[in-house]
C-alpha cells in the first residue's frame, strides 16, 4: 500500500480523498491555486504546494507544476478526483512515465472510452445496446441526411469530443438538421478544438441511469448497482439517487450486466461509471463511460456501505477487491443534492463570495460532504458546487422526507445557494412517484422561481 499520495484536485473532492487516506494511514500532499490559498481543508493534508495562479489553466491544469509537486513531495501515486485532469490520458501517462501511479484506469482504456465512436463500437461488440445513429463521424450534410432518414427524426447532433451538453443539437427535420450540423461543429471546434460530429436517434423524455463499476488488476469486476441522475438542468446533474425509483427489477438486472460486459471488454480497471439513457418503454441505451470517480459516488457508498475512494486506492496499489459480486447488497435508499453557490432566482448565475454563517444539517442518515464553513469565501474561479448533501434511509419516502428536513436546516448566509430549489423538486409529486426525466426541470420549474 502507498505511504503518500498527491491529490490533483481541490474543494470537497480533495477533502473527500484526504479523509479516505487518513483512515487508511496514507499521507497526503495537496496542491492549491492562489484562489484556494489558505483554505481550511488544506490543513488536513500532510504537505501542500501552490501550483500556480487563480485560473484553473494556471494551476489545477498545470501538468508540469503538479508533477513537480509530486516529485518534490515524494509521492507514490496521484488521485485526480473528478474534472480538471481526471480524464486526461496524457496526464495519466506522464504520471506513469515518472513512476507515479495514476489512481484510475490505464491511459489506453481512458483514450478508447474517451472517444465516443470507439466506445460505441466497443459497446456493440459487448452486446450493449446503443442509441441508433451514424457509426462514426459525419462526412457531409448528405451523409447526415441519409442517416437521419434511416433512424428517423428527431435526431441528435453530437460533437465526438463533446461533453456536458456542449456541441449538442436536436434536429426535427431536414432544415433544422442543416443548421444543427453547422452550429454543433462550430461550437465543438471552439470548445474542444475538434469539429467532428455524429448523429444519433433523439430519445424523448429519457431518464439518466448509470452503473457504478469497480475492477481490479486480477480480473475481478463488480458492479455496485445503479444511480438515477435524471434530475438535471441543462445536462447538469442536480440530484442523484440509488436505487433508481423508476426501472423494473429485470431492467435493472440487465442494465448492470450490460455494464459489466462493457467494462470487461474494455479491459477497464479501477472505478468507472457506465452511463445509459432509458426511454419510456424502459429500453436502455449506452451513452458513455466516465473513466473516473464521479461527484455522485456517495449515494452508492451509502446503499452499499463501500468506501469507493478507499477501493480506488487499493485497486491502484494492486490489491484484489475484498468482495465478490454476490457480497454486494443495495440497502435502503440514498439521495444526493448538489449544493451550488448559484442564484436560482437569477437563472442559476454563480454566487461566489463570503459565507457569513452556515448551519450544517446532522442527525440519523444525514451526510454533508463539503469543504466550506462560516468565514469561507467561495472563489469565483472554479465550479460553483460547495457541497453535497446526502441522506440514507430504509425507504425512498423516508429518504425524501429526511432530505427535505436536512435542506431546511442548511441555512447559509452571505451567498445564494440551490438548497431551496432542491426542496421544490423533492416536494413535487413527480419526484415522489419517480416520474423525472432529464427535461423535467426545464419543463416544470424553470422561470418559476
Amino acid at each position: 500500500m502507498y505511504n503518500r499520495i498527491l491529490i490533483a484536485n481541490r474543494g470537497e473532492i480533495a477533502l473527500r480523498i484526504i479523509r479516505a487516506c487518513r483512515e487508511m494511514g496514507i499521507e497526503t500532499v495537496a496542491i492549491y491555486s492562489e484562489g484556494d490559498r489558505g483554505s481550511k481543508y488544506l490543513e488536513f493534508a500532510d504537505e501542500t504546494f501552490c501550483v500556480g495562479g487563480f485560473k484553473s489553466a494556471d494551476s489545477y491544469l498545470r501538468i508540469d507544476q503538479i508533477i513537480s509537486a509530486a516529485e518534490v513531495g515524494n509521492v507514490e501515486a496521484v488521485h485526480p478526483g473528478y474534472g480538471f485532469l481526471s480524464e486526461n490520458a496524457h496526464f495519466n501517462e506522464v504520471c506513469r512515465d515518472c513512476n507515479i501511479d495514476f489512481i484510475g484506469p490505464t491511459p489506453q482504456a481512458m483514450l478508447m472510452l474517451g472517444d465516443k465512436n470507439q466506445a460505441r463500437a466497443l459497446a456493440r461488440k459487448a452486446k450493449v445496446p446503443v442509441v441508433p445513429g451514424s457509426d462514426g463521424l459525419i462526412e457531409d450534410e448528405a451523409a447526415a441526411m441519409k442517416v437521419a432518414h434511416e433512424i428517423g427524426f428527431p435526431v441528435l447532433v453530437k460533437a465526438t469530443a463533446g461533453g456536458g451538453g456542449r456541441g449538442m443539437r436536436v434536429a426535427a427535420n431536414d432544415l433544422s438538421l442543416k443548421t444543427a450540423l453547422q452550429q454543433a461543429a462550430a461550437e465543438a471546434l471552439a470548445a474542444f478544438g475538434n469539429a467532428g460530429v455524429y448523429i444519433e436517434k433523439f430519445v424523448e423524455h429519457p431518464r439518466h441511469v448509470e452503473v457504478q463499476m469497480i475492477a481490479d488488476h486480477h480480473g475481478n469486476i463488480v458492479h455496485l448497482f445503479e444511480r438515477d441522475c435524471s434530475t438535471q438542468r441543462r445536462h447538469q446533474k442536480l440530484i442523484e439517487e440509488s436505487p433508481s425509483p423508476s426501472i423494473p427489477k429485470n431492467v435493472r438486472k440487465s442494465l448492470c450486466e450490460a455494464a459489466v460486459r462493457l467494462i470487461q471488454m474494455a479491459n477497464y480497471t479501477n472505478a468507472g461509471t457506465v452511463e445509459f439513457i432509458v426511454d419510456r418503454d424502459n429500453n436502455f441505451y449506452f451513452i458513455e463511460v466516465n473513466a473516473r470517480i464521479q461527484v455522485e459516488h456517495p449515494v452508492t457508498e451509502m446503499v452499499t456501505g463501500i468506501d469507493l475512494i478507499q477501493q480506488q486506492i487499493r485497486v491502484a496499489a494492486g490489491e484484489k477487491l475484498p468482495f465478490r459480486q454476490k457480497d454486494i447488497e443495495c440497502k435502503g435508499s440514498a439521495i444526493e443534492c448538489r449544493i451550488n453557490a448559484e442564484d436560482p432566482a437569477k437563472n442559476f448565475q454563480p454566487s461566489p463570495g463570503r459565507i457569513d454563517s452556515i448551519f450544517v444539517p446532522g442527525g440519523l442518515g444525514v451526510r454533508f460532504d463539503s469543504h466550506v464553513h462560516a468565514g469561507y469565501t467561495v472563489p469565483p474561479y472554479y465550479d460553483s458546487m460547495i457541497g453535497k448533501l446526502i441522506v440514507h434511509q430504509p425507504t425512498r419516502a423516508g429518504a425524501i422526507r429526511c432530505m427535505l428536513r436536512a435542506l431546511s436546516e442548511l441555512k447559509i448566509s452571505g451567498i445564494k445557494t440551490t438548497a431551496d430549489f432542491h426542496r421544490k423538486v423533492l416536494s413535487h409529486v413527480d419526484f415522489a412517484e419517480g416520474r423525472i426525466d432529464t427535461g423535467w426541470v426545464e419543463r416544470n420549474l424553470m422561470g418559476k422561481n
Binding site: 490559498r37 489558505g38 481550511k40 501550483v51 500556480g52
Partner: protein, 160 residues
C-alpha cells in the same frame, strides 16, 4: 428610539467614515461594525477571512505572473517602501549554486540587476535558472539548497 434616530442622521458623514477607516488601518483591524435601531456603519478590509500571512502574500499583484517562467517580484509593500521579494515562479527544489562545488549565485549583500541569475529551481529533472527580475541588494535568503519551493514562495528579500 426616535430621539436616537434624529440625533445621528449622519451615517454618510465622510469625515467620520475617514476617521473610522484610519482607525481600521492604524490598528490593522478587519472590521468595524456600528449600528443602532435604524442606522449602521460597517467597514471591512480583506475579503477573505482565516487569512494567513501566506494568503496575504498570495493576494499581491505579483501572483498574476505565477505561471510565468521568470521569477515573480512582489510590489513594494505599503509599510516598507524599500523592500521587495524574489519569489519562486514554479514548484521544485531550490539550489543556490549551479554545481555543488561552485559558489552561490548570490549572497546577502550582493547587488543584483533584473537579469542576474539568483538561483536554480529544479523541476522534472530540469534546472531552471531564476533571474532576479528587479534591481536591488540581497538582504535575506529564505531557503537552503534542496529546499522544496512552490509557486510564489519568497526566496530572497531585497532592498530596493
Amino acid at each position: 428610539m426616535s430621539n436616537e434616530q434624529n440625533e445621528s442622521s449622519g451615517v454618510f458623514e465622510i469625515a467620520r467614515i475617514r476617521k473610522l477607516i484610519e482607525l481600521l488601518r492604524e490598528f490593522d483591524l478587519n472590521e468595524i461594525d456600528l449600528h443602532d435601531a435604524t442606522q449602521r456603519i460597517r467597514i471591512k478590509r480583506g475579503g477573505v477571512p482565516m487569512v494567513s500571512a501566506m494568503q496575504a502574500a498570495g493576494m499581491m499583484p505579483a501572483v498574476s505572473a505565477a505561471a510565468a517562467s521568470s521569477s515573480t517580484v512582489s510590489a513594494p509593500s505599503e509599510d516598507d517602501k524599500n523592500v521587495a521579494f524574489i519569489k519562486s515562479p514554479m514548484v521544485g527544489s531550490f539550489y543556490a549554486r549551479s554545481k555543488p562545488d561552485q559558489p552561490a549565485y548570490v549572497k546577502v549583500g550582493d547587488v543584483v540587476a533584473p537579469d542576474t541569475v539568483v538561483c536554480i529551481v529544479e523541476a522534472m529533472k530540469m534546472f531552471n535558472e531564476i533571474p532576479a527580475g528587479i534591481s536591488g541588494k540581497i538582504v535575506e535568503v529564505y531557503v537552503k539548497d534542496g529546499d522544496a519551493v512552490d509557486v510564489n514562495k519568497p526566496l530572497f528579500k531585497l532592498a530596493v
